[in-house]
């Protein structure tokens, strides 16, 4: 909103002149607000760097060091099988099998981010569809979908995850006729299963509010059908919140994967993930003699979680014009 500026004339009279109105698009306004949030920008830059590490880090690290991620190096464990710490060849030290922890941590970025982003994307997609449907149509549809989501929220997630992973891990083919393969797909499926209901509840709440707005009434009066209203009137208003919640869901799901891996239920050991590296510290009791197993994957996990949270906070503030900056 611009206001007319006051111009004092030579005679002391005050004349009102029309101010120059800058026509800023919503996206430009968003970027301006976002750019003012230095923490969010730093978070965004770190996220971009992490994505680059996820794509190129593992192979690059293996190439630089000459250490494939799953090759054990016997000289990197002592006479008692305790792994050795960082040195000039093994920058992050070794794990208990004598593998290069730097290489595995870089590959771990790929696994962790892949799980976080894919599982969050799927959860958002499912949550969006369920939430939109429940909020817009109401009645029995709302009751059925919302109560289903509530039931899922009440389920002990880890126990169910243990059951699913165990059931799908005893054969090479996995379960459900090979649809759910042990490892990455099971982990993504489990995380998605327990994540979408949060999004669905949020989307439903927004939709309940939006469907009563004047522009929706106008569209309906103009003869728009339900599908069109959902697609053209309501969905665009959900994009902002969805982006925000997705960025907040990603770190949460990365931590969920880490928790599953920590319990030995996640990604196979041959596919490094930060959670599985951390799990080794717990199961082997090496935490007070092999600090590097905790510090490096744990550090990346913390930085990733923090960066996504900062980015999510910044996006939320930038989308929400009422936020006090």
């Amino acid at each position: 909103m611009t206001s007319p500026s006051e111009v004092v004339t030579s005679g002391g009279a005050v004349a009102l002149q029309p101010a120059v109105v800058s026509h800023k698009s919503p996206s430009r306004l968003f970027w301006e607000r976002f750019a003012q949030d230095k923490a969010a920008v730093v978070g965004g830059v770190v996220v971009v760097l992490l994505i680059l590490i996820a794509i190129f880090g593992g192979p690059l690290a293996a190439s630089i060091t000459g250490h494939p991620q799953n090759t054990p190096y016997e000289n990197m464990t002592d006479a008692y099988g305790v792994p050795l710490g960082p040195n000039s060849q093994f920058w992050f030290g070794a794990d208990s099998a004598g593998r290069d922890l730097f290489v595995r941590t870089m590959y771990g970025a790929r696994t962790s981010l892949l799980v976080g982003i894919v599982a969050s994307g799927l959860a958002v997609l499912i949550g969006l569809i369920v939430g939109l449907t429940a909020g817009f149509f109401g009645g029995i549809v709302d009751t059925t979908l919302s109560r289903s989501a509530d039931v899922l929220l009440a389920v002990p997630q880890i126990l169910i995850a243990v059951g699913i992973v165990a059931a799908c891990s005893t054969t090479k083919e996995g379960c459900l006729g090979g649809l759910v393969q042990p490892g990455l797909t099971v982990v993504i499926a489990v995380i998605t299963l327990f994540s979408w209901s949060y999004i669905a509840r949020i989307v439903r709440g927004f939709t309940l509010s939006l469907r009563e707005k004047e522009f929706v009434e106008s569209a309906r009066a103009a003869g728009a059908g339900n599908l069109r209203i959902l697609r053209s009137e309501i969905f665009p208003n959900l994009v902002g919140p969805l982006i925000v919640y997705t960025t907040l869901l990603i770190p949460s799901n990365i931590l969920f994967e880490a928790a599953l891996s920590y319990l030995g239920l996640g990604i196979p050991d041959s596919q490094a993930s930060w959670g599985s590296i951390l799990s080794e510290v717990g199961t082997s009791g090496l935490y007070n003699v092999a600090w590097w197993l905790m510090v490096f994957p744990g550090g990346f996990l913390i930085i990733t979680t923090l960066a996504f949270n900062l980015l999510g906070d910044g996006l939320r503030d930038a989308f929400d014009v009422r936020t006090d900056r």
Binding site: D78, A79, G93, T170, P268, T283, A307
Partner: protein, 637 residues
Amino acid sequence: MRKFLRLALLGGVVAALAVLAAGCGSSSKKSSGSTTTTNANGTGGHGNSVVGTGTFDNGTTATKGGTYTVGWESSFGFTNNFDPTGEYLGNAWGLYSNLMLRSLIGYKHLPGAAGNLLIGDLATGVPTPTDAGLTYTYHLRSGIKFGPPVSRVVTSKDVKYAMDRLADPKDGGQYSFYYTVIKGWNAVADGKATTVSGISTPNDQTIVFHLTQKTGDFNRRMSMPATAPIPEEVAKCFEGKPGDYGRDVVSTGPYMIQGADAVKLPCSSLKPMSGYDGANGSHIILVRNPDYNQSTDQYRKNYINTFKFLVNSNADDIFAKVQAGQYDDEVSTPTPKTIRQYATSHSLRPRMIPNVGDRTNYLSMNLTQPPFDDIHVRKALNWITDKAALQKAWGGPIPGSIATHIVPPVLYNNGLAEYDPYATNGEQGDVAKAQAEMKQSKYDPGHTGKCTAKQCKGVLMIADTRSVDKTMVPILEADAAKIGITYTVRSINGAYPTIQTPSKNIPIAERPSWGKDFADPYTFFALLFDGNAIIKSGNTNYSLVGITPTIAKSVGVTGSVNNVPSVNSEIAACAGKLGQDRTNCWEQLDKKLMTQVVPWVPYLWPNNVFIIGPNVTHWNYDQFTDGPAYSLVSVKG
């Protein structure tokens, strides 16, 4: 301000990590430097185990008194709630044999070969069989009584009752298969009789066993805890309820469950004894049995007043408490970290006691599943496996010596100690020999030395999720890749139920480990390689040696089930022999399995490493139970 705080937070995290890394780095140099120069085995050779005398003696005279506290990791894990009829957990046997139960035959509770020598415990001596090896007669020692709440003299009928109970499946007997050689046993097992006809009790002091076949190790079978006398007046309260007697076990040994003197018969009044709160509970407390007569027992010294076995879910906490003297002993497995700590400390080293465990760790290959249905692939895997690296994964020479064949030499009276049909330099594997073997395989049609067939790609391997499994798997994958085999690894928390189900058709398993039930190789060969013993679930012949198409169909095995090698006749022949003939027979069978059948890659004969606390003054290993000889330990007064 908010933005500044968030930036500061991000910076703070990075800085904290850097400081932590730098700080920890200095301590690492110290620890790794000290250990890399230490030769754990003291000999410089690969695979040598570090086993001492299996004893600890601080130089003082053992005195009576005190409490002996043992930290027990995770849970008791009993297979039958501590009911001796069905209890198959070795740690429970340690309590029974040393402290609570007196079977006809017993042991001296000593380490090494002396600990495997038989003695009469409830019986006056070890009988020689009569009737061409088919009859065993035991005479009971006088003066042995049941503890509370029974407090009466033990008779031969109490032994017979225990055997009848063991034969009856509804009472939960888990190793009754050892006794099917007794006449009439199967009739009870099949529900056609209630008492075993081949066991007679001509008087209260005598019990006679009539066998259907010569069984050279029958006296050893009568040393098992399930054969110890059970008072019918108590156990009948739990008929058909396997495990319930475990909360009211009546002692014949020097100790009883605390509270045994507070429970009352008849059955309607009988409550669980307070000193044991169940298999999922937190404690077992044993106190002296007032009805025990020390003069009847030459080998148990019983210095301790009270034993406390306390469940603790945190292994690190257990070892910390042992070191601090809050615990005296542990039922746990020291990790490489703990072993290094004790091995490199002059003051702590004497309190870490490695002992030969009468056990073999091995990779089992399924003879019916490709590519392991080809003996050349199985041999190639034996040649390529870096056993030294696997030994290190377990913590080096202290936790065990490298296994070179099926049965640990101690069970052959140290026979086959030098036998190593797949010996390689430093036991690190030999690529040339492995590839030479692989060239002969049908899965290497081009004779490249690597398995090029699709059957070698993504071979399903079942592993467990323990720390050591996670360390071993990459080593095994790297080894197999050298001969062209790649694995699809499925890590399962508790892998045994999967690999014990033949219909899963698991090609290779990383988890298997087998220990003796008693000191005779029969307890390896009969249970692990007898084709007739293959069952649908709980099967222990993981390699399916001796499987026939008929058995395969009945248990759901699909694969190469025709012409699978069998050693059934050899097992039957050896089982009837006695003395050195018997030992020689088992040794020949071991060699045949290693060279003509090749079902395993044996890689470790684990030691049982115990760490004892500063208050312990005398300790020794019990070779029969593969655990502490609780009846001989003592603590500071």
